[in-house]
Assembly symmetry: C3
C-alpha cells in the first residue's frame, strides 16, 4: 500500500468564499503515483468545509444566501460561542451543513468523478491562512 499526503493553503481576504481546488487535488494524485485507492480531502479548520458540487457562480451565490439564512452571522451575540471573544459562531454551523470532508475514489490514476463533480474549499471565517489536507492511499 502506498500513501501520499499534501497540505493546500488558502488565504481568503474576506469572510467567506468558495474556491475550486480540483486542480490541486489532481496534482496531488499525480504526484502520488497511486492508480487505485481512496482520496480524502478535508478542511483542517473547523470553520471551513470541503465539498463537491457544481462550479457555477449563481449556485455559489445561492449557497451563500441560504447558509446565511440558516445560520446568520449577525447579531454576533446570538451565539454563545462568541462570548469567547470570537465572532465566528455562525461559521461553525455553516460548516456542518456543507461538510468537513470528501472521499473520492481513485480509478486508473484519476479522480473517479461524475460529469459535473468539482471539489471546493468553503471558507466561512477568512482573513487568515488556513489549510486543507489531501491524503491518498492505495496502489
Amino acid at each position: 500500500m502506498k500513501s501520499h499526503r499534501e497540505e493546500l493553503w488558502f488565504h481568503v481576504p474576506g469572510r467567506r468564499a468558495f474556491i475550486n481546488i480540483t486542480p490541486q487535488v489532481e496534482a496531488a494524485l499525480a504526484a502520488s503515483g497511486i492508480r487505485e485507492g481512496l482520496c480524502l480531502v478535508n478542511a483542517m479548520h473547523i470553520t471551513a468545509s470541503v465539498f463537491i458540487n457544481d462550479d457555477e457562480p449563481g449556485l455559489h451565490h445561492d449557497y451563500e444566501a441560504w447558509l446565511e439564512h440558516l445560520a446568520p452571522h449577525a447579531p454576533v451575540d446570538r451565539y454563545r460561542h462568541n462570548r469567547t471573544g470570537e465572532d465566528n459562531g455562525d461559521a461553525h454551523l455553516k460548516r456542518q451543513v456543507m461538510g468537513r470532508e470528501v472521499v473520492v475514489a481513485v480509478t486508473e490514476g484519476r479522480l473517479d468523478f461524475g460529469p459535473w463533480e468539482q471539489i471546493f474549499y468553503g471558507e466561512f471565517d477568512g482573513g487568515r491562512r488556513k489549510r486543507v489536507l489531501v491524503k491518498i492511499i492505495g496502489e
Copy 2:
C-alpha cells in the same frame, strides 16, 4: 491491496425519491471478494445524495417535507442558479443537507452495520438516468 468498482444506475421518473440500495452494495462487496477494508458509496451527480438511515416510509415523508421547507423548489426564480435555464437550484441545496457519500467499514466480508443502518440513494432532480459509484478497497 484489492480494489473493486461498480456503477449503479437509477432512473427516477418523478423529481424526488429515496431508494434503498443496500442489496446492490452488498452484491458489489460479494463480487469484490474483499474481507477487510472500506467501501465508498457516492452519488456521481450533484443533485443527488447517498446517505444511511432507516427504511421507514414515514421517515422518508418527513425528510421530503423537511428538505422542501429548508430549500423550497418553487418559485424557481428564487435561485440564481436557475437563471442558467435549470430548475434544480433547490436540489443542489437539499443534496448538501443529506450528503454526497457514505463510507462503510467492511469486516469479515460484510458491510459492518449497526442494527438499522440501510444505504439510500436520494434523488432530488429526477427524470433522467443517473449513477452511484461503489468503490471498495481492502484485502
Copy 3:
C-alpha cells in the same frame, strides 16, 4: 494492509449530548499499530452523529439550539415517523445535519488533525446503550 476494528459504547441518560471521543479513537489507533492510512469513525445508530468540531461548551449550546430550531422535537406528532410509536423523528433529521461519520487521515501513527479538530459523538435520542464503530486500515 492491516485493519483494526473497535466499538465504543455510550449511554447518554438524557435525550441529547455531545461527547468528545478523541481519546478513545487515539487509543484505538495506538492499538492498531497502523502508521499510514485512513480511520473511519461512524455512528452505528441512525439517531446519532459523529462529527469533528471544537470542544467549546458555548458552541455545543449553539448547536443544540440551532438543531432544535431546524428540526424541533415537539410536538412529536409533527413527524409521520412517530406514528410508528417512536418519539425520535426529530433525531433522524438532526443526525443528517451533523453527519453519520468522519474519515481522518493517519500519518506517522497519529490522527492527522488541524489545530482545533476534535471528534464528537452527537446523541439525539439517548436513554439507552448505543455504539460507535472505529475502523482503521493502512500499514
